[in-house]
């Protein structure tokens, strides 16, 4: 069994950033494992620009952003394997892979989970109706168009106002298709306002809120859908059905961290993020197994994925150096205005970045970070939306060794 200091599962933005940072920290016996035939992850198909404003202070397309990290990996000769799938990760950090060279097993001192996320599908939504071809998730349509040169349809309707769906609405329009409308079940958009402007408004594509698809029509190819208004519990209202013709339905209805391997390794997940429960070191409930990027919690920007993975790498370096990390005994408890936080617990011994998302749109609010009934830090928010991740840096000087950290919102 080959021994590695660190095995990184996934060669997307999180895995690549972790690998490069680990190497710069002097940890060179590392291996990145990627199941696709090239590194870069989802960025390979995200050809629109707008990446890198935080990390590189310039605007890049997805492939260009990924290449900056791939170039570092190549320059430093960091080892990686593509076309290789990880079959299992054990609590003992034994990693079993299958690839062109057959079955291989490694033992690592630390494992970095960087598998990213998957899209929610029609099955996850339970949309009734026929089962014709022509129903795609936004990311699958993006892969068809941007990697395989295959146009998915001509007369398109989009369900869900996630960022990828809106970005694909613009892409379809530029390539000559008609995007009739975007329907969102929530009373507010789920993607960033800038994408509503530059992907929908700019091209005259209407966005309808509080509506969802309640039927799908067509035998071999999709011929149309039924949309209905929803009530405040998001249930369709009978009598509001409207039939619309289309040959393609695109679903942009959310992303779910891909944690099958993590679960098998005994990693405890957070039911809100669907990612691992971690401390400020990004260490999971299993000693020596770490997680960052979209496998941990879905990010709005890749820049934050890279920066999170770089911080993770610093912790992994500490872990390898000291053989263990301080125990995290302080829980972070958000109130109901906050959907989740990452990390979920801390040791209280370090400065850290608190990432969170609000559970509904909020205006003119204050987020208070409290411990033992004392306000440690206050962040004013003029506008907060679930689409945007909020990050609040917390300095170790203000933390006590005991007492839960409460995150309270007052409006």
């Amino acid at each position: 069994m080959e021994e590695k200091d660190v095995i990184i599962i996934g060669g997307g933005p999180a895995g690549l950033a972790a690998a490069v940072e680990l190497y710069h920290k002097g940890i060179k016996n590392i291996l990145v494992i990627e199941r696709e035939n090239t590194l870069g992850g989802i960025l390979r198909q995200c050809i629109h620009d707008g990446f890198g404003l935080n990390r590189f202070k310039t605007t890049l397309s997805g492939p260009e952003y990924a290449q900056r990290f791939i170039d570092e990996v190549e320059k430093d000769n960091i080892s990686y394997m593509t076309n290789t799938t990880v079959l299992s990760v054990g609590q003992d950090k034994v990693v079993t892979t299958v690839g062109r060279r057959g079955l291989k097993t490694y033992r690592a001192k630390a494992v970095v989970l960087a598998m990213g996320c998957r899209e929610r599908t029609r099955g996850a939504l339970g949309i009734p109706g026929e089962r014709p071809t022509g129903v795609f998730t936004a990311g699958v349509a993006q892969a068809y168009m941007n990697l395989q040169n295959t146009m998915v349809g001509r007369n398109i309707i989009i369900l869900g106002s996630g960022d990828i769906g809106m970005i694909m609405a613009r892409r379809f329009t530029l390539e000559g298709a008609t995007v009739k409308a975007v329907f969102e079940i929530q009373p507010y958009p789920s993607g960033l306002p800038r994408n509503i402007q530059q992907c929908l408004n700019d091209y005259g594509i209407p966005l309808y809120l509080s509506k969802t698809v309640t039927d799908i029509h067509g035998n071999s190819r999709l011929t149309g859908i039924t949309v209905s208004d929803v009530d405040k519990h998001l249930n369709p209202i009978p009598g509001t059905e409207q039939d619309l013709d289309c040959d393609t339905l695109i679903l942009s209805v959310g992303l779910i961290p891909e944690n099958e391997l993590s679960l098998e390794a005994g990693v405890e997940l957070d039911s809100r993020t669907k990612g691992a429960i971690v401390d400020e070191y990004y260490q999971t409930s299993v000693d020596g197994i770490f997680a960052a990027g979209n496998v941990l919690h879905v990010h709005d920007l890749v820049d934050f994925v890279s920066m999170e993975a770089e911080k993770l790498a610093d912790s992994v370096a500490d872990y390898l150096h000291n053989q263990s990390l301080p125990k995290a005994t302080i829980s972070i408890l958000p109130d109901t205005n906050i959907n989740h936080t990452v990390p979920q617990k801390i040791s209280g011994k370090n400065s850290f970045m608190l990432s969170l998302r609000v559970s509904k749109p909020l205006q003119d609010c204050v987020i208070n970070i409290c411990q033992n009934d004392k306000i440690l830090k206050t962040k004013k928010i003029t506008k907060a939306i679930p689409a945007q991740m909020i990050q609040i840096p917390i300095q170790k000087e203000i933390l006590s060794d005991t007492g839960s950290l409460e995150v309270r919102v007052t409006c």
Binding site: I47, E64, L147, N149, R194
Partner: protein, 120 residues
């Protein structure tokens, strides 16, 4: 007259309200940085956008190569530039930054490759 804008300069997506009279900005609220004012001024006089697409590639490991513009172009020229991009056929390999169409339609912006793609 009050006009509403969503700033697209960065992901903060500031929602800006501007008081505009005869094309002049009298006052502006909602922008969290200076670029907001610049964005509104640009939107009033000559709205510009960047676009991304892809061009056909012969003999590459992928059938197409992604491209974008080196600089934003006037919004009303987007589909004219798309027509130019659709005419392009390239041979692999291609590399990031390679200029596919220089100064496209005289708009002072280049169509550039955004992905390294090897030959088959």
């Amino acid at each position: 007259m009050l006009k509403n804008y969503i700033c697209i300069v960065c992901p903060n997506s500031c929602e800006i309200t501007a008081e505009v009279e005869n094309g002049e900005i009298l006052s502006l609220t909602g922008a969290t940085c200076n670029r907001g004012q610049e964005y509104v001024r640009q939107e009033l006089t000559n709205p510009v956008r960047n676009i991304a697409s892809s061009v056909l590639l012969e003999n590459g490991v992928l059938p197409l190569a992604s491209v974008r513009l080196s600089k934003p172009i006037p919004k009303d020229k987007i589909f004219n530039v798309m027509d130019k991009i659709k005419e392009i056929r390239l041979n692999a390999p291609v590399a990031i930054g390679q200029i596919v169409i220089g100064n496209v339609l005289g708009l002072d912006s280049d169509v550039i490759i955004t992905k390294n793609i090897d030959a088959k």
